[in-house]
Symmetry: C2
Subunit: 411 residues, 2 copies
């Protein structure tokens, strides 16, 4: 019997995946560099190592029947080799490869005729000086950026080249522009908005050292997301389309379901996208609703997603159980909502210190409020520390309760 | 911040408690003699030791802000001492003491004017020869019973004394009688039905070596259960009354809610019982509905209970989250059902071997079916290996699906 799942990444996504995998009786093992990671705490075993550590991935593979990810970092060469040896890896290295390069992802979508904003790469990537993924990740939560002093003249020369290109692209697309990192750009940390020429230097400074592309800024009326799953048997099931609200580029609020008029358009686009994309598992497709009423794809995440956390309480099958079902070849579960409405609000860190939750008692006094705390040892400003879901009859009612519950919790 | 919970017992009840405690951000540590126990797999740390091991309980206490139980075994003296030192222990040693002696429990209930079946102790307990709890537990699942040969003449003399008493009690109460073990009588393993005089020897043989009492057999029309919680703040909340069906004295099926006519009577009795009983946490009150339409208490469990597993999917707050809220002083959650009906069916082991689940794919194909597998390494005949919950509009619809799902799973 195949019953062992390996997850690369031990954050909150891995943790919630582990809850549902364990519920179904699977063994769960994790790779994460932080000992006692959120997912490690609730899994059978954690290998403490960087996400792309070859030895660790081989060790995880040796004790897993199925391998999956909660982050888009992976060592593609090893994954290909392990897959050829018969290990079930979902999504596949190929699919991850397409998606993890945001420029490649956009090129893929445009090529398949799927609607995306105008975009263009900035200087051929071979010419760029790169930080390693590992360093970047280690610095991600602390906000620190460190550069080798010896490289500074090289950076300056590159900065000038990039600036020239951006000025040309501004003529082509018009302002505002978005300068975007191609890789590892979570939660807006890889985006810089250029409203006019005076913002260019700051944008270059923010993203220095990363592979970049430029995108025409979409003046959207709403942000939407569709969580959708495909199983290894080919079955596809979509969750209700939701409306999302971001603050500082970080998912802040999710309201489910989105207006009925948008539902069909967004779901159709999500299914068209999945038909083009290979691979099993849960995917999240973030979209913009344009001012003209059309939907275009903003970004695909090849994994369970913040915009699907509401499914834990609001839908028959949570996105996490759905992902486990999808990668292990089990039938997909119903994605129907149990009650008519749900709202999810993130609990982001408010200071840099040891995590300490207060106000849980006040939040839990509000009926139909569900609080999730991720068990991270340290809180940092804007770090995802937990979330709140409210289910009910109307979005207005849920929203009010969610905001009230969020207000009384500190972390 | 108090955020660490210690659980004595690492079976499925501890496991499901751990899921919800972790969801709320608590640290969870477990004592269980079996390494990698169902709860240990999903908790921060497991101390591998017998449930009543003094050193282990002191170690657990040293890393816990709150101590609780998934089994009614405890070392009362140590618990009292730890409680006096300021550790929060729920339910208290005193409450556990009243409940774990089934005879003492009945005496307590009768004294408080709560309805129970007629009963009487069999020979003063001081005169009895006892097995240790530990031996009994170790043998529980294997069905083996072992006795010291040197004791056999002592047993024979006791058997004769018990038989004489039983014959007298039969005259007083009439047949059928139930001979019952006072301690550690889970899942009917401590009960023997005596329909007439010819059954007496077999009953004595079955329960030899244990403290006993006799109860008049209640000819019930239905078995009911009420899961009810009291928090350390004194708040009390009851779940919908359910109808239970036992097979070989083991909970087989739970149907929620029970008929409306029974709801109020049973809930009132449950609340009256909680008002008499000290202690915080979730309690399960098993009842009989007599043929004359009255409810009487069969038994109280001072813990989350098999008859409350349906609450995970069917109610706003699961009994496991409710227990965590109750013992940590958080407000109790809503016990309302989300959909009108739910059915829970147990998955009992069918053979003695390494656990291996088949048919999960077929079961999960049925909509609104939730499967829980407890992660036990070995399956044994009648061992609780998992359960299935179905939620829906009517009990009939849920029951049909639950039975279909149970039929296709083997373990």
């Amino acid at each position: 019997m195949k019953n062992s799942i390996g997850i690369v990444g031990g954050g909150q996504l891995g943790r919630m995946m582990a809850f549902d995998a364990k519920k179904l009786g699977f063994t769960v093992n994790i790779i994460d560099p932080t000992p006692n990671s959120p997912a490690g705490q609730v899994s059978d075993h954690q290998i403490v190592a960087p996400y792309d550590d070859e030895k660790a991935i081989r060790e995880l593979a040796s004790i897993s029947d199925f391998l999956t990810f909660e982050i888009e970092l992976a060592n593609a060469a090893i994954l290909e080799e392990l897959a050829q040896k018969g290990l079930e890896i979902h999504p596949s290295a190929k699919t991850l490869g397409i998606i993890k390069d945001k420029l490649g992802q956009k090129e893929f979508l445009r090529e398949k005729g799927l609607p995306v904003a105008d975009f263009q790469p900035v200087i051929p990537s071979e010419e760029r000086v790169e930080e390693s993924h590992t360093t970047e990740l280690q610095d991600k939560h602390s906000g620190r950026r460190s550069f080798d002093g010896a490289k500074s003249s090289e950076w300056r020369a590159q900065d000038d080249t990039i600036k020239k290109e951006l000025l040309q692209l501004a003529e082509k697309f018009g302002y505002p522009l978005l300068l975007k990192a191609r890789f590892d750009a979570y939660d807006g940390r890889g985006n810089a908005l250029i409203n006019n020429e005076s913002h260019i230097d700051e944008a270059i400074n923010k993203l220095r050292g990363r592979k970049l592309y430029v995108e025409k800024f979409v003046s959207f009326s709403k942000e939407l997301a569709v969580v959708i799953a495909r199983s290894t048997k080919g079955e596809i099931k979509s969750y209700p389309v939701v409306e999302t609200i971001h603050k500082n580029n970080i998912c802040h609020l999710v309201m489910a379901p989105a207006d009925e008029t948008i539902q069909r358009k967004a779901e159709t686009l999500a299914i068209q996208t999945m038909e083009q994309l290979q691979g099993a598992g849960v995917f999240a497709i973030e979209m913009f609703l344009n001012k003209d009423g059309n939907v275009i794809i903003n970004e695909i995440a090849p994994r369970v997603h913040n915009s699907g956390h509401f499914t834990i309480e609001a839908c028959v099958t949570s996105q996490f159980e759905q992902h486990i079902r999808a990668i292990t070849g089990l039938p997909l579960g119903s994605t129907e909502m149990i009650l008519p409405a749900a709202v999810m609000i993130n609990i982001l860190g408010e200071r840099n210190a040891n995590a300490e939750v207060t106000g849980l008692d006040k939040a839990l006094q509000i009926p139909n409020v569900f609080v999730h705390i991720y068990g991270k040892m340290e809180t940092n400003e804007e770090r995802k520390m937990g979330h709140i879901t409210v289910i009910g009859k109307t979005i207005e009612e849920c929203l009010k309760k969610a905001q009230e519950a969020r207000r009384v919790i500190t972390i």
